[in-house]
């Protein structure tokens, strides 16, 4: 793919942007993040385009915290939730707010209808919600990924009284009813906010004479054309995903590798195996919501350059709290950044940094320079602990076959790639604390924006063929159709491959080099009584998260 790629990552303190062409960074910018995300995005864009022919721009990718902020601050639009449940957990335990309604109707684990949808009840509940002024709806059925008929019918019954209806089965094909409810709920609640944001950003791009499509970065590190994004909540947590992909772009990640993005508030950790970032097994957690949203596996340690440093019982502690900027940059509390400033490894007011560290140095009975070194050591030890916990968590993931258990692959990284502002200065300390070589690539200070710029389109679908019941379901692709009893696993692979490619195309320009992987293939006999009556084939097809090109 030729042309100029613009990547902008709106972070907590800074908004970073890069322009990349043919694997080279043409231009990088850093502007302060404002309360109005639109404004700082435009500031970054304007600076980036300085000296660049806007017509040569091939893609613009934004990683924003718009939806995350709305979730955390409770700014989602009031959303009506309609669910169908059936046997199992009492659906009332799953209510996300008081606009949650249960419609009689149920589907079982095979996708068989066990209780018909009560359309009369549905109509009444929809009337109620509409009368209460609700304009967006989340619809989720238990096992709707096996049979979406009830969800689809509820959408029909909702009609045009609602501006947007999110259907759970279309948003993720995995099994998890509570997460499906939350996912649809966030999709509906963020819909209007997202639409307004995209419209205004698209206008702005046109004003800058940029005709390239606007993409948003998702939590799984994939780009998605802003105008076709069905679930804006997928853009939450795109920040850590941007840095993970930036890391991938800025160095050769062949063996198992730990990625660190050392920021002001947190240090984000991700893992790479076989050249690709690891994914969350269930989905992203956004604010208080457990969702099915596909996300890169990232963990945040509350130990960043601006974390509060103090001495407790003779031991240096770093984080988890922070009190504004470092003392050297006008803050009130000592931080690791102040230690860097004292040692001449970061820019700032050294006098103020020295003053901030003086009480700590006193308590430790040493000189400020030595105290600064010990603070950096303590910080690195904190990061090392978080890396160890992350690896333990990944390696404790359950598996369900003897083969996987006995041949069990454990993630044992050989090296660490560190990005983020303080990465270069802290790298030697991290190397010592973890005992693995640490590399800091070029452009480490804007790795997140680089990741956004070169992130490729990815996609995933889950496919189930139940030949005994005679149905094929690929929920993410809207496929639910009858199949013959002879339908073989090979046909399911073909259908899933087609579906994942179609899904990817709908998200934007496809990387022709990106292969489709078939994973998690299962094929079981269906035995009823003592006779085999069919087979259940299941698999997952995906285009993995990845990058369009390396960046030097």
């Amino acid at each position: 793919m030729r042309g100029i790629f613009l990547g902008i990552d709106v972070g907590g303190t800074h908004t970073d942007g890069v322009a990349v062409e043919e694997g080279r960074v043409l231009h990088k910018v850093k502007v302060p993040t404002h309360a109005d995300l639109r404004e700082c995005t435009l500031d970054a864009l304007e600076e980036l385009l300085d000296g660049i022919n806007p017509r040569a721009v091939r893609r613009v990718v934004l990683s924003t915290t718009l939806v995350t902020n709305a979730v955390v601050q409770g700014d989602l639009e009031p959303t009506g939730t309609l669910v169908t449940a059936g046997p199992g957990i009492s659906p009332r335990l799953l209510a996300l707010d008081d606009r949650f309604r249960v419609v009689p109707g149920a589907v079982d684990h095979r996708g068989r209808e066990i209780v018909p949808l009560d359309e009369e009840a549905a109509r009444r509940l929809l009337d109620e919600l509409a009368a209460a002024g609700i304009r967006v709806l989340a619809v989720a059925g238990k096992f709707s990924t096996r049979n979406p008929t009830h969800e689809r019918r509820l959408a029909e019954l909702a009609g045009d009284r609602f501006d947007f209806v999110a259907l759970g089965h279309q948003l993720a094909g995995t099994l998890n009813f509570p997460r499906r409810i939350a996912t649809a709920y966030l999709a509906a609640g963020a819909w209007r906010l997202h639409r307004t944001f995209v419209a205004s950003m698209t206008d702005a791009l046109r004003r800058f004479s940029v005709l390239a499509p606007l993409y948003l970065l998702r939590a799984d590190g994939g780009t998605h054309a802003a105008r076709t994004l069905a679930n804006p909540a997928e853009t939450a947590l795109s920040g850590p995903a941007a840095s993970a992909l930036g890391t991938l772009a800025l160095d050769t990640v062949a063996a198992e590798t730990v990625g660190l993005d050392i920021g002001g508030t947190t240090t984000d950790i991700c893992l790479f195996s076989a050249g690709a970032p690891l994914l969350e097994p269930q989905g992203a957690t956004i604010g208080p919501y457990l969702t099915q949203i596909r996300a890169l596996f990232t963990r945040s340690a509350p130990a960043g350059g601006d974390s509060w440093v103090r001495v407790e019982e003779g031991e240096i502690r770093v984080g988890p709290r922070r009190f504004g900027p470092p003392a050297a940059l006008g803050g009130t509390h000592p931080t690791p950044t102040d230690a860097l400033v004292v040692l001449g490894r970061a820019v700032g007011n050294r006098q103020r940094a020295l003053e901030a560290l003086a009480p700590l140095a006193n308590e430790l009975g040493t000189l400020p320079e030595e105290a600064a070194r010990r603070i950096l050591q303590a910080w690195a030890v904190e990061i090392a602990g978080a890396v160890r916990r992350t690896l333990d968590e990944v390696n404790a993931r359950p598996v369900y076959t003897l083969h996987e258990l006995l041949e069990g692959h454990r993630v044992r990284p050989a090296r660490i790639l560190a990005v983020g502002g303080p990465a270069r200065a802290i790298a030697p300390y991290v190397e010592e604390a973890i005992g693995l070589p640490v590399t800091v690539p070029n452009h480490f200070d804007v790795a997140n924006a680089v990741g956004a710029a070169v992130a490729r389109v990815n996609a995933e679908v889950h496919a189930v063929a139940d030949t005994a019941r005679g149905y094929l379901s690929i929920p993410e692709a809207g496929v639910y159709e009858e199949i013959p009893a002879s339908f073989p696993l090979a046909d399911l692979q073909t259908r899933a491959t087609e579906a994942v490619l179609a899904a990817a195309r709908s998200k934007g320009e496809l990387d022709p080099a990106a292969p489709v992987d078939i994973a998690d293939v299962e094929s079981f006999n269906v035995i009823e009584g003592f006779a085999t009556v069919g087979r259940i084939h299941r698999l997952r097809a995906q285009i993995r998260p990845g990058i369009l090109s390396r960046v030097d």
């Binding site: 149920a106 998890n176 369900y400 003897l402």
Partner: protein
């Protein structure tokens, strides 16, 4: 926005999707497939306070602590058995370590028909996973008094055999009457060996027993017995083949029945045993058990095929169950007197029996001789053979073996020759050691 469990509950889920006895055997790959779908779809493993732990792989030493294998244990023990037993061990350790209040080992293959001596596959079982778990716990956590409440529809004859002489293990089996179902044992007169009289209790239930019948047994027999016996640890062998849809049994228990039983029994560890209605029962029963263990509402766990009218228990059956519970409780409370009568004037008790291995198609003969002892579980000497030319002798010194029993046992071991026996074992439990003599040439 995350559901919170009032009781911290561990789950070891190991469906062994790549293991079957054979492709259409009830104990086959997809037995827990629909259960996994239900558990995942319900989001049970996302509940705060429900913690999933991967199984550990049990060691051969854990298996040897319980079983004598003929010709050896390696012949019979596959990785699947080690993981299944290891899953039970992991679940129990998490409880004893205080990580969780209770735990459910949702594992396969099952084990409760596996007896002390293993010649092959019996009732879908080779290795008794509960016994391997319990003996592992005793080895690592000290001498626990353990009650096993076996609610599988089939009599837990393997577990009964292993703990027949153990006064520190109370084994209670509730099952469909042995006159109507495999393995054909588990009658009220099976009451424990001479040194463990009354620590085996069998409650055979008539076919068609409903939730009411099962819960009556729980409330009027099992819970009072547990109250009186005061175990340190309660283990539920949680077979799910009492379900009204099970293809190989004739009972009428529902997911609600299982959930209520789980809630009232309050077992520390539940271990899956049988249950072969893989689509209509297991997904719902396991959801019910897990929710009940976690202390959450189970009222909506109702099977699609559930019709209360079809699940009525006859009046005669009801009266039978009530009477049986009265008699059994009375007998249990009089166990010391009954034992005194049974062993009066005797130094040893001898028994011969014949054990059929349905999975292997072989018949084993056993002759068992146990020392009557007031001080310990009594030394037991067991001869076992399928082929009379290759007899096996195993001498078991019980966990709290007294000096007299040790002397007798060691003597029996030293006197036995490999001319007479293909294998002679001294199972020295106090020292967690097995000593062997093997006939040359295999």
């Amino acid at each position: 926005m995350r559901l919170r469990a009032p009781q911290r509950t561990g789950v070891v889920f190991f469906p062994a999707f790549d293991w079957a006895i054979d492709p259409t055997h009830p104990e086959r790959e997809e037995r827990l497939l629909y259960t996994r779908d239900q558990i995942f779809e319900e989001g049970l493993l996302d509940i705060e306070g429900v913690v999933e732990y991967p199984p550990r792989v049990a060691e051969m030493a854990d298996v040897e602590r319980v079983h004598t294998g003929v010709p050896d244990l390696e012949t019979h023990t596959s990785p699947s058995h080690l993981v299944s037993a290891g899953g039970a061990i992991e679940a129990a350790r998490r409880v004893l370590d205080g990580d969780v209040e209770r735990a459910f080992a949702l594992v396969r293959p099952p084990g409760h028909h596996a007896r002390r001596v293993v010649h092959g596959l019996r009732g879908f079982c080779v290795i008794n996973i509960e016994a391997v778990m319990i003996e592992h716990l005793r080895r690592h956590y000290g001498g626990l008094r353990v009650a096993v409440v076996d609610t599988d529809c089939h009599h837990g004859d393997g577990t009964q055999d292993i703990y027949w002489h153990d006064p520190d293990t109370l084994f209670i089996s509730i099952h469909q009457d042995g006159r109507t179902l495999y393995p054909g044992s588990g009658f009220p007169d099976e009451f424990g060996g001479p040194n463990a009289f009354g620590t085996t209790l069998n409650i055979p239930l008539p076919p068609g027993t409903t939730d009411d019948g099962l819960l009556h047994v729980l409330d009027h027999l099992v819970l009072p017995v547990l109250e009186e016996w005061k175990p340190d640890l309660v283990v539920n062998s949680a077979g799910q083949d009492n379900h009204f849809t099970d293809p190989i049994t004739d009972m009428a228990i529902t997911a609600q029945g299982y959930a209520t039983l789980t809630r009232r029994l309050r077992a520390h560890v539940a271990v899956l045993e049988g249950g072969y209605s893989v689509q209509s029962a297991l997904p719902y029963v396991n959801t019910g058990i897990l929710l009940a263990m976690a202390g959450l509402d189970t009222s909506a766990v109702i099977e699609p095929d559930y019709h209360p009218d079809l699940l009525q228990m006859g009046e005669r059956s009801r009266q039978y169950v009530e009477r049986l519970c009265e008699l059994m409780l009375e007998k249990f409370l009089r166990r010391d007197d009954l034992r005194a009568e049974a062993v009066r004037g005797r130094t040893h008790l001898e028994e011969t029996r014949s054990v059929f291995y349905d999975g292997a198609g072989i018949r084993e003969q056993q002759r068992e001789r146990v020392r009557v002892c007031d001080d310990c579980g009594g030394t037991m000497v067991l001869e076992s053979w399928e082929n009379p030319a290759r007899k096996v002798l195993t001498v078991e010194l019980p966990r709290r073996c007294c000096l007299a029993c040790r002397a007798q046992g060691e003597d029996a071991f030293h006197r036995a020759t490999t001319d007479e026996y293909a294998l002679v074992e001294l199972r020295d439990r106090p020292h967690d050691r097995v000593e062997r003599k093997r006939r040359a040439g295999g």
